[in-house]
C-alpha cells in the first residue's frame, strides 16, 4: 500500500539540512498526504520566533517557508527534551507548533509513512 504520510526529523537549521524536509513536506501535502516534521537540537531554530527570518538560500527564506508549510497543513512538533537541553522556553516557539517526545514522532512514523532524518 502506498504511504499516506511524510515524516522527518529535523536536527539542523542550516539551509542544506532544513530546506529539503520542508519542501518534501509541502510536496507531500500537494499529493494529499499528511506531513509531520519533528524539530530537535539545532533544528529548533527554524521554529523559534525571530530566528528563521535570517536564514536564506537563493530566493528561499526559511521563515517564509515555515509559514507556507504551516498554511498547507504541515504539522510541526518541537522536541521537549531538546528544548530543555538547550534552555529554550516553549514561549520562544512560533505559534502553531506542538511540543512532543519520541513517542509522538514514532507513533506518526509507524503509520504507513515515509520517514526521513536530516
Amino acid at each position: 500500500m502506498s504511504a499516506s504520510k511524510y515524516t522527518a526529523v529535523v536536527t539542523s537549521s542550516e539551509p542544506e539540512r532544513v530546506f529539503p524536509p520542508l519542501m518534501l513536506a509541502m510536496g507531500a501535502r500537494a499529493m494529499e498526504m499528511d506531513a509531520v516534521l519533528f524539530f530537535t537540537l539545532s533544528g529548533l531554530k527554524a521554529i523559534m520566533k525571530g530566528e528563521a527570518e535570517g536564514i536564506s538560500l537563493g530566493s528561499y527564506n526559511l521563515a517564509e517557508m515555515v509559514r507556507q508549510a504551516q498554511e498547507l497543513g504541515v504539522r510541526m512538533v518541537a522536541c521537549s527534551t531538546a528544548l530543555e537541553l538547550m534552555g529554550i522556553s516553549a514561549d520562544a516557539l512560533i505559534d502553531g507548533v506542538e511540543v512532543g517526545g519520541v513517542a509522538t514522532y514514532l507513533s506518526e512514523a509507524a503509520e504507513n509513512a515515509i520517514t526521513h532524518a536530516f
Partner: protein, 83 residues
C-alpha cells in the same frame, strides 16, 4: 500521442512561471479543484522539475497526465481531473 498535446483546449490555465519547486505543484493542486471532473487543467511552468513532479502527482492523487508541450522558455503541462 504527444503530437496533439499542444492543441488540447484546457478548461483552465494556471500560470506558475517564475515559481520554483514546490510552487508549480502547489499551484496545480489548488487549481485542479476549479476544474470539473473530466475537465483539463493546463499548467505553465519554467521550473524543470515540474515535468517530473506533475506526472508523479497525477499518479498519486488519481488524475490523468496528458502530456507536455514546450513553449518559449516554459512548459505547458496538461492534466485531466480524475476525481
Amino acid at each position: 500521442m504527444s503530437d496533439n498535446v499542444s492543441e488540447i483546449q484546457a478548461d483552465k490555465i494556471v500560470d506558475a512561471r517564475g515559481t520554483s519547486c514546490p510552487g508549480p505543484l502547489l499551484a496545480a493542486k489548488k487549481a485542479i479543484g476549479e476544474v470539473a471532473v473530466g475537465g483539463v487543467l493546463e499548467i505553465w511552468s519554467s521550473d524543470p522539475g515540474t515535468k517530473n513532479d506533475i506526472p508523479a502527482w497525477c499518479q498519486k492523487v488519481g488524475h490523468e497526465y496528458l502530456g507536455c508541450a514546450e513553449a518559449d522558455g516554459y512548459s505547458r503541462l496538461f492534466v485531466r481531473r480524475g476525481k
